[in-house]
Symmetry: C2
Subunit: 328 residues, 2 copies
């Protein structure tokens, strides 16, 4: 535990101010690439640095901006940048309107853009739109991520099923290519425990990490206030990942508010690796107060944090608790 404490303190906390739904990818060029939701939800930006701390004040570039109207014109959420078959892809959610649909949900769908220049920050013109990632279900969907396993590319995301209570569930499918699903969605988690259904019943923001012969999918649950927390699914890496029975849900949250240091509602995480290419790093956003005025969606103060984590002897991750701020 001493080592963890020591490592934690090396990272600026918060790391990036006013960036929610953070995603960090360490590329073969040695840079950490960072993207996240911006407070105005109007564009997708990337920044990069050779160290995680460097992301705190690394200069961003806009790589895509919302359309004036149509399906990609509102509430640009939760971009993730992936490098697949030597091209860059960004998944994000976008809506046509800020209004709710007949289920009382936002109207997001998932989209994909692609860049085949080695430098994804060179210019907006390098990015082309690959359109909506269709799942065969026409409903609120968001927070897409993807991963490769046994030579197959998988897509994991959150989506509303009108037949299931709550905002969204988690699904998995295999991909034909980075913007097209090959298989039908398989439901792997829905909000069911008390900690997944506080105020709102939510499963969203999936993130995948492969260790110890297992695939772990962490996700975020409940309302995006201090109730927001992370849950986890586990599958054997040799199992059929498209079989919902391969996935087991932990019955308790794996990461949650740390009231004693005023860190509330940590979640929408991703994973990256330390500068040593060994230490696993949890990336998440968190708020430092609970007195949100108005719609939490338009309170910009969800800040990106990173902290190292370790693995227990049973092969499961130990994420610890959200760290306190350490800026001077």
């Amino acid at each position: 535990m001493k080592a963890v404490t020591k490592m934690s303190s090396q990272y600026l906390t918060p790391l990036v101010v006013q960036r929610a739904d953070p995603y960090i990818y360490k590329h073969s060029d040695g840079y950490y690439y960072f993207t996240a939701s911006v407070p105005a939800y109007n564009l997708i930006e990337i920044r990069r640095a050779k160290t995680l701390n460097g992301l705190a004040n690394a200069a961003p570039r806009t790589v895509w901006r919302k359309h004036d109207s149509g399906e990609m014109s509102q509430l640009i959420w939760a971009p993730e940048i992936h490098f697949i078959n030597n091209k860059w892809y960004i998944y994000f959610a976008a809506a046509e309107t800020t209004a709710f649909d007949e289920n009382g949900m936002f109207q997001h769908r998932m989209f994909c853009i692609e860049c085949d220049n080695p430098d994804p920050m060179r210019q907006e013109e390098d990015w082309i739109e690959r359109g909506q990632v269709k799942t065969g279900m026409d409903s609120f969907s968001l927070d897409a991520t993807c991963f490769e396993q046994n030579g197959n590319l998988y897509y994991v995301w959150a989506q509303k099923d009108p037949a299931i209570k709550g905002n969204s569930n988690l699904y998995i499918a295999e991909m034909e290519n980075p913007w097209t699903l090959k298989t039908k969605p398989v439901l792997i988690s829905k909000p069911e425990f008390e900690w997944e259904t506080n105020i709102f019943s939510v499963n969203e923001g999936p993130a995948v990490i492969h260790r110890n012969g297992k695939l772990f999918i962490t996700y975020s649950a409940s309302a995006t206030d201090q109730n927001y927390c992370m849950g986890m699914l586990i599958a054997d890496d040799q199992s059929d990942l498209l079989n919902s029975n391969s996935w087991t849900k932990q019955d308790k949250p794996v990461f949650e508010s740390n009231l004693s240091v005023r860190q509330y509602g940590p979640g929408h995480n991703s994973f990256t690796i330390g500068e040593d290419n060994k230490t696993d790093i949890l990336v998440y956003h968190c708020r430092d107060y609970t007195t949100i005025k108005g719609d939490p969606l338009y309170d910009p103060n969800r800040h990106t944090c990173v902290q190292p984590f370790t693995w227990n002897s049973d092969g499961l991750p130990n994420f610890g608790k959200p760290n306190p701020y350490n800026y001077k």
Copy 2:
């Protein structure tokens, strides 16, 4: 010069990403208070830290947000936080609409909010609106600052005069109280030199520093692209500051783009003091590219930078050039 180089490198550059029109005030509580325009132009926030570098990732608090309609409902620009007679004041510019007026100008007027709690970040409810700061001229006005000299409180700002070519000129007046002028506006500068009239004729963003028996007002000139630069006015501190003849303009810019390190359009500066309470610090925003897509106003990548500066033997400041980025 060696000392300057050494001091410069101690500050993160850029310091605060995506904050334009930066203002930093070091208070008696030992904190640096930072505010600036946010990319959405929709609210006023403050952050604080014990060091300038700490501002890079210090957690902000919203202290005021734009109204849904009316004179303070659009384009909240360039807040400055001042501490006057034991109360906090923030000056800012706001508009009723994003449309232009009959002069082809934005429709901003200047406003003041006040907080009498010692902690200006405690809660939004601590801030009350003191309304428009009226100048007797009803036109585009913005970028207010204030300073005390010989026991008097002065207000300096930018405003359009339809009879004068260009976007805005600089004016000074004495104040009755922090939100009311006592005297009529005195014109102290209008765009006239080539470097003040590139693309747009602009004098804006005044900042005041008092050294060596003189008052210096730096300001920003020309279009807010790579042409943006800083000019300077000088007055003897015993002169009548409300007499325009007391102010002399430097015929060359005092701070401008540094092409060799890709720093473009530095300006809208303010001044603060180093952690040693001795070193003068220039605070400004700058862009790192010239290829702006669409309206520069909605390109969020003006970043706050700080760097120490020195004084020449003639008693004038030497701001040097914008420093290169130094994040790793």
